[in-house]
């Protein structure tokens, strides 16, 4: 049920995508990615199935030990995280940020970030960066 609500909300906000994303009162504020031109899948697919991709990926990454997939959570974060005025990353699960904004609106709790890092640290696409 919660999933249905979330996707309905997400698709609704997709219609508002663009410069006025989130401007509509009541809609979640979907922030623009800080890099990249397109997502790993078409946006409507990601809105509806991003959790399925992550659920599948976690098995592959952890249990099989496969690295370098484009569906890694670290890749999501490296594009969709935002920086504050001081140039520091804002945790992606902070209020109003990419993940939290939509999930808060739909009242769907995100479990990912009780364990996973919420800012880029050189993982995923940034793997060559200093660690």
């Amino acid at each position: 049920m919660a999933v249905m609500v979330l996707s309905a909300v997400a698709l609704g906000s997709a219609a508002h995508a663009g410069s006025d994303a989130g401007a509509h009162a009541g809609w979640p504020h979907i922030t623009k990615p800080i890099k990249g031109t397109h997502c790993v899948k078409p946006v409507p697919y990601m809105l509806r199935y991003h959790f399925d991709l992550l659920l599948h990926q976690r098995e592959i990454t952890l249990r099989k030990g496969v690295h370098g997939s484009k569906y890694d959570l670290t890749n999501c974060i490296s594009c969709h995280v935002n920086k504050n005025a001081n140039g520091q990353y804002i945790p992606i699960n902070a209020p109003g940020q990419f993940c939290q904004s939509c999930h808060e609106y739909a009242a769907v709790h995100i479990d990912c970030f009780s364990c996973h890092a919420t800012t880029p640290q050189g993982g995923g696409d940034d793997q060559t960066a200093a660690r």
Binding site: R58, I60, L62, R63, K64, G65, V66, H67, G68, S69, T74, S114, C115, H116, A117, P120, Q121, G122, G123, G124, R131
Partner: protein, 257 residues
Amino acid sequence: MSDDRNTRETAGDQTGTGGIGRRAFLGAAGAVAVLAPGLGLAAHAFEARPDGVPASSKHRWGMLVDTTKCKSNCHVCVDACNKENGLYEEADPKDTAQYIRKLTVHDPDTGYTHYLPVMCQHCTHPACVAVCPTGASFKRADGIVLVDRHICIGCRYCMMACPYKARSFDEYTEKNQKWYNPRGLGCVEGCTMCAHLVDEGKDPACVTACNKTGGGAMVFGDLKDPTSEISKRVATEQTTQIRADLGMDPGVRYEGI
């Protein structure tokens, strides 16, 4: 081989990768290694696994600890582990996660005292995996025993089953985790043999630190590769598994205990 190296060195100079030849690059990398213990270069008999390739049962990662070289007041392995895996001293020290710890073993009859690091022994037949009710505790194809925190319910059965006390329970809401070592409230955790480093072709942080600034007591390698240093040494030297009688076949072996 030498021809190949020369060719590559020349190519490196010509293609203008900052004008850095192989030798100069290694020198620079060595300087970085001195500044950043635990991340430096080490002699390797294994390579990084390419992206997209799963862990393979062709490998069996193991460790050999020479306790005669392990010093009483040295904790570089523990410190390196904590730093690498993002572990912090908790307000109550007994709640602090221990992926590796130093033990002092004393024989009261003879007075002989020695020291050894103990971490997850990455058993072939791990008790933690056998008892886990959800399948969260699992063994990767290459023998590294891990916790799948996605499905760990925090029952701590594995902590009771492990004869090495290798697992810890996270009782705190965590922040600032390392991206390669997610950890959080309500899950059991333990030594990962630095799987993220091993997959990159690097030694675990404790081994690197021990060989750089510690006693040089630890060797990491592939027990299934007969040419690896660890395989040669376990084949020619007297090594011991802790509690070998339990039949779990630990991947970590010790000398001098």
